[in-house]
């Protein structure tokens, strides 16, 4: 299997409700992450780094910022005459309406699938941050002779109400699947990344549609464990899931660790994103920056510690920023201080104002707010 044999379907809106602060104005795929990215960048880049040249992005709510971000797909080299990027906003032709679930999204993508020549489909969500080597996952799929391969993370279970927790046998075959078991805190959890043949996917969609099944994991995969060979592929390296504002904050801050950073940003699988044409970041006389991840286009004259700064952030002289995640164009005025704060785009902290959250309770400031 090469990239030419695979098409991707990315779904952006399934988990918006877990990050209501940030998804009030956008969908999960366009949530900013890591100083310069949007969450969709990671899965999109994973696909194109394997040579996939046909990707559909399905979206359901609040998708304007996502469409704005993806545009014609050029940053991912998906602005093609043949194949390339397909945007699948909801439509009402088949009564699907707004996609309430993965199942509805897949039904909405039927047309796309019918017009796809590629033999395999990778279906993925946007709420897991990883630099997926799709080639390795494809090789695993072939080696196991699997019908379906589910990528998984392991460790503390994310707090998602539809989380599929997997039990694997010695040959990585999924033998049991439970949805958000109440008594379990650790384990192997499906990362909502699934590889399978297009023909199988279409069959499963038709089956589900005929039976009126609403939930893909519960109604399709679980009963299929007996008849289909479903295998689990462990995501190596960085693998974080966003299930709350806290995990969003923690995952951003975790990038200050070189090991974590190197695991997510590998030289052979670059993460592409929309170009902004910022100048390099300017550090002024008397600025002090420690242990921080800083995107291009910032101007820093104050103090920044243990923080992640997105493109175009200004930190004036005498301002102090500690343990913060600041999004694009945040402006911290002179004499202001922020600690354990997440700012959305275009937030202004006026001179002398102080904001403080706690490491286990970061304070969120909404888009464009002036404090």
């Amino acid at each position: 299997m090469t990239g030419k044999d695979v098409a991707g379907i990315i779904y952006s809106s399934n988990y918006d409700s877990y990050l209501t602060e940030l998804t009030a104005v956008r969908t999960m795929g366009s949530v900013p992450f890591g100083g310069r990215y949007r969450l969709v960048d990671f899965v999109l880049s994973g696909l194109v780094n394997f040579g996939v040249s046909k990707v559909a992005v399905a979206m359901s709510n609040n998708y304007r910022s996502l469409m704005d971000h993806i545009g014609n797909g050029r940053p991912w080299d998906l602005a093609r005459k043949r194949e390339g990027l397909f945007l699948l906003p909801p439509y009402n032709l088949t009564g699907v309406g707004s996609y309430g679930s993965k199942m509805a999204m897949l039904r909405g993508a039927e047309d796309f699938l019918n017009h796809t020549q590629e033999e395999y489909i990778l279906v993925t969500d946007c709420n897991v941050v990883c630099n997926l080597d799709v080639g390795k996952m494809a090789a695993f799929h072939a080696e196991k002779g699997a019908d379906i391969t589910l990528a998984y993370g392991h460790g503390t279970l994310p707090a998602l109400s539809d989380l599929a927790v997997l039990t694997l046998d010695g040959s990585a075959q999924v033998t049991d699947m439970e949805i958000a078991p109440k008594d379990q805190t650790e384990g192997v959890w499906a990362a909502n990344i699934m590889l399978l043949k297009k023909s199988l996917l279409l069959r499963l969609i038709h089956d589900a549609s005929a039976h009126g099944w609403k939930n893909f994991d519960r109604d399709v995969l679980m009963p299929g464990l007996g008849s289909l060979k479903i295998c689990g592929y462990p995501i190596p390296g960085f693998c974080g899931v966003i299930d709350s504002l806290q995990s969003y904050y923690d995952l951003n801050i975790s990038l200050l660790d070189k090991g974590e950073r190197d695991a997510l940003f590998t030289a052979d699988r670059p993460v592409f994103t929309r170009v902004r044409d910022d100048m390099p970041t300017v550090y002024g006389v008397g600025s002090s920056v420690k242990n921080s991840l800083i995107a291009d286009g910032c101007v820093i004259d104050g103090t920044v510690e243990n923080s992640v700064l997105s493109r175009g952030v200004r930190v004036e002289k005498g301002a102090v920023v500690k343990n913060c995640v600041l999004m694009q164009e945040t402006f911290i005025s002179s004499g202001a201080a922020a600690n354990c704060v997440i700012t959305d785009k275009n937030v202004v902290l006026r001179p002398g104002k102080t904001l403080s959250g706690a490491e286990n309770y970061p304070l969120f400031i909404g888009k464009g707010k002036v404090i």
Binding site: R74, K258, P270, P280, A295, L309
Partner: protein, 406 residues
Amino acid sequence: MARKKECIAMLLAGGQGSRLGILTHKIAKPAVPFGGKYRIIDFPLSNCVNSGIDTVGVLTQYQPLELNDYIGNGQPWDLDRADGGVHVLSPYQQIEGTEWYKGTANAIYQNINFIDRYSPEYVAILSGDHIYKMDYAKMLDFHKKNKAACTIAMLEVPWDEASRFGLMFTDPDGRITAFEEKPKNPKSNKASMGVYIFTWSKLRKYLIADEENPSSSNDFGKDVIPAMHAAEERLFAYPFDGYWKDVGTIDSLWEANLDMLNPKANLDLGDASWRIYGKNTALPPQYISDSAKVENSMVSAGCEISGEVDYSVLFSNVTVEEGAVVKYSIVMPGTVIKSGAVVQYAMLAENVTVEPGAVIGEAPEKTENLDAWGVAVIGGGVTVGKNASVAPKIMCDNDVAEGEKI
């Protein structure tokens, strides 16, 4: 036939840039990295698109591979147009034989057919080795208002530097009355910036005449403009008062990079209304560690800084290890400066490795013989060995062995 354009630009990018030494051994001068993430040619190309000029011919000749590759289809500058856009124009074979571009005027002459396709009223002739932000639309308005045959952008330079430039004398209306080419004792400080707008019908005529003149060196400054002046064509000087620098030498390239750090230099790259565009890299944000001390510097994506950086410009993917010091220096992409190394008053090209304890360059105030002082330059891919040292003004294109002093 393409759609008619009011004004198109021709960008002279074929010069070797020999005074930049090892920095232009393998690439043309306009492709030399500048300002932390740009290349020199990004400035005139961005000026064009910001000024509303959407058709640009780039004349290349010397080492064009990297430059052609960089320009590509012009998308980074929004110059990938169905109608117009950027075109790389290299010398080509003709029935009468092949001819290199003999001079700046000849380069345009050989591309008369290209220009005629767009039947423009005006043609801007630009240079690929200047750093400046300029609205050519304003200059064009000036040109049209004056019904000029040629308008030359003019900058008032300090009198003590005037002798390095082609100088102009003007009447109160701005009409050029006389020229003086790099005089020993300048009587004017109005320098030509090497930015011209011509009325195409006029220029076309003079280019053909110039080509027929066997004694001509086929140069705009030396031949075409003097010929127009002699024929009493209307030549005007368009006053410009922003930042402008010819980065044709190591010193001026180094200075222009550091000028970006000087708010008084009037070269604001953060101005959203006049962005400088360039090809972007897919690199993660820069990381500044606990042990780092970064001040008064520009740093780009992908850098990992654990040492001391002061008054310097760092391009993408540069590593400065803990205990290393970088001062008054320009460090191009992918270079690694290891712990305990000191880099000062230097320019390091791409993918240089500076091993621990190596010392490159020296502060001018510590030099006994100031005449022998200059910026040290390390060529692309060079490794400077452990505890080696490179003296000021050296241009080093070969590896330096451990402990060696050059």
